[in-house]
Symmetry: C2
Subunit: 201 residues, 2 copies
Amino acid sequence: MIRLLLAEDQGMMRGALALLLGMEHDIEVVAQVGRGDEIVDAALVARPDVALLDIELPGRSGLDAAADLRDEVPDCRVLILTTFGRPGYLRRAMEAGAAGFLVKDGPVEDLAEAVRQVLRGETVIDPALAAAALSAGPNPLTGRERDALAASVDGATIADIAASLHLSESTVRNYLSSAIGKTGTRNRMEAVRAARQQGWL
Amino acid sequence: MIRLLLAEDQGMMRGALALLLGMEHDIEVVAQVGRGDEIVDAALVARPDVALLDIELPGRSGLDAAADLRDEVPDCRVLILTTFGRPGYLRRAMEAGAAGFLVKDGPVEDLAEAVRQVLRGETVIDPALAAAALSAGPNPLTGRERDALAASVDGATIADIAASLHLSESTVRNYLSSAIGKTGTRNRMEAVRAARQQGWL
DNA sequence: ACCTGGCCGTGACAAATGTCCCGGGTGCCT
DNA sequence: AGGCACCCGGGACATTTGTCACGGCCAGGT
């Protein structure tokens, strides 16, 4: 029996996946969580063989949780399941030690098979996505540029960002200008969008 | 047997829901589509008793499709299933003649029961959401203010918006300024965010 | 010891944005 | 006929944003 942990914030999706995977004769869902910061605790208790993690989770990113699992529950293989096949996500997932990366498009039938593959030690990745990730190159943004961009979502003003990062307004504008340049965009909003698209952020 | 049409863009979610609902003894999934502009055609062919529609769909909004169905396939009851329980969405769903409104949180078990309820002529709505929709009041934005806001997502400049709406830049700025005032925000981005949050847009 | 790159800041400037006036036109309701 | 709301535009103005040039600090690599 493959012991599976399932982390997904949308209740209906989580329930549906749990039911479907539980119907497989060789899979048993031993833990379900809806928040990223509950993953490690649940894994320590339930001792799953495979963790199926969404990326966008409240509390803690599934990618960060994957890195945590590698340290704290090394026997557990990680399979990332996400809505967005962003190159940067895939790259970060691999760096965090994930064994597989699936997007929520594509048929459900693949899911159980992917779980079995990662347990056999194989790596499962959509080939097209892998190519995109390689061709896109790594994240060119520095840490602070990322911070500034991330803080500027939802229409925060320069003053807001400066306050939230404890920086001067001039500095923030320099970082943002730099990020706009690196993303090849015309303003904050486009830069945020572009960075999101790539999975930087 | 309840004949069901399922419209949902995320392949895995669609597949999972189809399998789960198909396992119910009294439900048969007679059509699955992944785009909003395929809903009416599919319904005309499959003649479902109930249509389970996501809102955010490529091609055409599930809310618009619900209005279409009321006109073209009036026997078919509409049940809206959405990620975001936004007051404006609920309001628009009701105006489009939907018989029910579910959010994708909450247990899958409710789903089949909700389908049966709408078929019996009952209306299914989360009470808390209904209260929020009533207390929020109707959409205060005029048609053009909505257009201008919608066109300003993703960092379009005033010039871009003016071009895409065939308006002068002055006009666009006036509309945006008005929308910013009505939403009680400080700039475009906040206004867009606030309007989205409410389900205006 | 030097160079590089990230980090943090200032000042000045041009461009974009948001606000407040104003005008005219239309259609709808009373 | 008047009032009202929406549509469309112009002009002036203050504010915000984005760019550029320029400092200094610190860590790492050669």
